[in-house]
């Protein structure tokens, strides 16, 4: 009985194999369909214009680069992907992944594909340091882009430096570069500068004489606050109070009520997450003071959606010039939306640029060797999507740009209400 069953099974299997072998393979089917489609086309008269068009097509359309092969080049991205900071950095991660895809479409680096994993530091210094050690110990990883918060980057930087890992963070604190790390490159404006720019904007655009300050207590926001306060003192603006807040707070009404009692002409926030809630609750309490806040362009659409009309007139600044004046930014925005189905926050432009700058350094290094990449980063002269990146000997950005904005009534960062901040003079020049 057993033998009969076995022989029947074998016959069935053999027949199946024969049928499968006789069936035409799927790709051929596709080819046939294509041929049928072509034969259905209306014949075109070959005129001079048609020939011109065909020639133009041939000349303009680049030959597709050969698909990258071989062992992937690992360039990992570290960002806070869980917790209160998630939304903007989720998009930043998508920007970097898009950069990797575009690089691979263009043939990769040294004919090898770029492979990027977005890793989550949870905006937690302890987790960040653990992650930095893990990346250092992974011989496949040749460079790290991120992280994006100084509070995490400051303790991660010495780990990367010690293991010679090329690291390009998007963290603004001067503590990232001040220790003189060899492997860390900071292609951003620094925190005190951002604070000073906001003080200049409040002074020149609103003519304020007194201001209350709210700030988060981390290496970046502390320096925003310090830069702001220092510049206010230079300009003769009275600081009515300086109030630390925590990122997990949701109810700011007690401190805003206290600030209201001080009656300053303006309120300045050096915060990331709570900014929108602060502005909303400020207006709910009837505080009509002028308002300036850092980091708003980092997640601008989030900010305006939470604040609604309370956001109108808010002064803020960042590295992003007015998008409507820059076709390349508009084009990137379209590409991003087509790829991910969501509009990029302004910060994504800079993340994409700096990630691509790191890939460019790997190309220039001639090999995916950490030491060679650091050398190449030192010699960077990269004309990026947003600005040109060149580093000072201390690995800070050579010519940081800063554009100050006033949020328009239609809740946009528009060129009509944008000013380029001159670091040396504190002047604001219309964009």
């Amino acid at each position: 009985m057993k033998g009969k069953f076995l022989s029947v099974t074998l016959v069935v299997v053999a027949l199946s194999l024969v049928v499968a072998a006789c069936a035409p393979p799927t790709p051929e089917k596709v080819e046939v369909t294509k041929i049928v489609e072509v034969t259905k086309e209306v014949p075109v008269e070959i005129t001079k214009e048609v020939v011109k068009e065909v020639v133009k097509e041939v000349v303009v359309t680049p030959t597709p680069a050969p698909a990258p092969t071989g062992k992937p080049i690992r360039v990992d991205v570290v960002l806070p992907l869980t917790g209160v900071y998630t939304y903007a950095f989720d998009l930043a991660c998508k920007g970097c992944l898009m950069g990797a895809e575009e690089t691979n479409t263009a043939g990769g680096i040294f004919g090898r594909p770029v492979y990027t994993i977005c890793r989550d530091d949870g905006a937690d210094p302890k987790l960040g340091v653990t992650l930095a050690h893990a990346l250092c110990d992974d011989p496949e990883v040749v460079g790290v882009y991120g992280t994006s918060l100084s509070l995490t980057e400051v303790p991660m930087a010495p780990v990367f430096d010690e293991c010679g890992m090329p690291n390009v963070p998007h963290a603004f604190s001067t503590l990232v570069t001040e220790p003189g790390y060899k492997a860390i490159f900071q292609p951003t404006v620094n925190s005190p500068g951002v604070g000073r720019a906001h003080a200049d904007a409040l002074y020149k655009l609103r003519d304020v004489k007194s201001v209350a300050v709210l700030h988060e207590e981390d290496p970046c926001n502390e320096q925003y606050k310090d830069g702001f306060v220092e510049r206010c003192e230079e300009l003769g603006i009275k600081i009515t109070s300086v109030n630390p807040v925590t990122k997990d707070t949701v109810d700011f009404k007690p401190i805003l009520t206290k600030i209201g009692a001080e009656n300053p002409e303006a309120i300045f926030t050096a915060c990331f997450v709570p900014t929108a809630l602060i502005v909303k609750q400020m207006r709910e309490l009837g505080l009509k003071q002028a308002y300036a806040g850092t980091e708003i362009p980092e997640n601008f659409y989030e900010f305006t959606k939470t604040c609604g009309e309370a956001a109108v007139g808010a002064i803020t600044g960042g590295e992003i010039p007015p998008i409507e004046k820059h076709p390349e930014l508009q084009e990137f925005s379209k590409r991003f939306e087509a790829r991910w189905g969501v509009k990029p926050e302004p910060t994504v432009f800079v993340h994409y640029q700096n990630y691509m700058m790191l890939l460019d350094a790997i190309k220039r290094a001639g090999s995916p060797d950490r030491k060679a990449i650091i050398k190449a980063l030192e010699e960077t002269d990269y004309d990026g999507l947003v600005f040109r990146v060149r580093f000072n000997p201390d690995h800070t950005l050579e010519n940081p740009i800063m554009t100050m904005y006033e949020v328009t009534p239609d809740l946009e960062l528009s060129a009509d209400k944008a000013w380029r901040w001159e670091k040396a003079t504190g002047e604001l020049k219309p964009e």
């Binding site: 992907l81 869980t82 917790g83 209160v84 998630t86 939304y87 989720d90 207590e217 109070s241 300086v242 109030n243 630390p244 807040v245 925590t246 997990d248 707070t249 949701v250 109810d251 009404k253 007690p254 401190i255 009520t257 206290k258 209201g260 009692a261 001080e262 009656n263 997450v273 809630l277 909303k280 709910e284 309490l285 009837g286 659409y301 989030e302 959606k305 939470t306 609604g308």
Partner: protein, 335 residues
């Protein structure tokens, strides 16, 4: 001290405005603490254990409301992920949307509360320490579940009611704050009626008094405890919606700090005592808000607003040392 008061003088020179404003802010947040604390106090009353997962049932209430509003077409996919959308609704529509949010959140949190009791706590009845650790585990599980499946980032909560502003002696407050107070009064009244005037309430009180004797008197212990796990989390779910309406956001970790504060409120008011718990919540909210406003002034900037949690935790330590039964609770002990 006079100079400190002078520092609080606003343009109209009205110190009272400052105090009224802080008082109003405190009442709103205090109502939220008190309502969450009711869940803790009810469970503690019948089981003599802290149900730590209650804070997550509160958080899930807000989350569920967002998804309900999405399903009902009040907000669309493009905007629900991150935004606070000002939706324009007529008065009746607004009432229906709010009722739907409350009902959905209460049903979800309530049923989940019953499931938690049936699946994780009933098998451990009589083993209080293990049950306590279990409820901590459930809390961590629910928070991470929400993070993984409902979103890692803050979600905007739609502005169902257009914000209206009122002024009392120069202090500004909004219709949402008034709404929170009204809902709190209604829920508290309803709960007090249920516990003191209905058969179920008598059963709950009997089980809280002595479970074995109540059982001998014919009270269905399992059903009574399950009903407590339905009512407490249901109120928690409604509070989650109220809190989301107030701050216009939902976030998977919201329950963490609110849960701790609510627990402090329950301890302060006298755990097991419903009216006392609500008073504890209000006291904590007012104390924390007024205190946080005064802290930078009194300490001359040494301690800022970021230390506002100092009040809740100092109070809990003091209460546990000097009056562990809470302000309104009766002393208990073995005779």
């Amino acid at each position: 001290m006079t100079s400190l008061w002078l520092e609080l003088q606003n343009e109209e020179g009205n110190t009272m405005t400052y105090l009224i404003q802080q008082f109003m802010n405190g009442i709103s947040i205090g109502c939220i603490y008190g309502l969450i604390a009711l869940g803790y106090t009810m469970v503690f009353g019948v089981l003599r254990m802290v149900n730590f997962s209650h804070s997550e049932l509160f958080m899930l209430g807000g989350m569920v409301a967002v998804f309900l509003l999405l399903g009902a077409g009040i907000i669309d996919v493009a905007t629900m992920r991150t935004t606070t959308v000002a939706v324009s609704l007529s008065g009746l529509q607004m009432a229906m949307v709010i009722m739907m949010s409350f009902a959905g959140a209460a049903a979800f949190s309530g049923i989940l509360g019953v499931i938690i009791e049936r699946m994780t706590l009933r098998p451990l009845r009589g083993k209080p320490m293990i049950a306590l650790v279990n409820s901590l585990g459930t809390q961590i599980f629910l928070r991470n579940f929400a993070m993984l499946f409902l979103g890692r980032d803050m979600r905007g909560f739609p502005r169902i009611m257009p914000t209206l502003y009122f002024k009392i002696m120069g202090a500004t407050f909004t219709n949402i704050q008034v709404f929170i107070i009204i809902v709190t009064v209604l829920l508290l009244t309803g709960l007090l009626y249920l516990v003191n005037r209905t058969y179920l309430g008598r059963c709950i009180r009997a089980v809280a008094e002595d479970r074995d004797v109540a059982s001998l008197m014919g009270v269905d212990i399992n059903r009574t405890i399950a009903s407590v796990f339905l009512i407490g989390p249901a109120i928690g779910g409604i509070t989650g919606v109220l809190c989301s309406m107030y701050f216009e956001q939902v976030y998977y970790a919201t329950g963490a700090m609110f849960g701790i504060k609510a627990w402090v409120a329950a301890v302060m008011g006298g755990i097991g005592d419903i009216a006392g718990t609500m008073m504890g919540g209000l006291t904590l909210g007012i104390l924390e808000t007024v205190g946080a406003g005064f802290l930078p002034i009194v300490s001359r900037g040494l301690l800022g607003f970021e230390y506002k949690d100092i009040f809740a935790f100092s109070l809990m330590i003091l209460m546990l040392i000097f009056r562990p039964q809470g302000i309104f609770g009766e002393p208990t002990g073995t005779k």
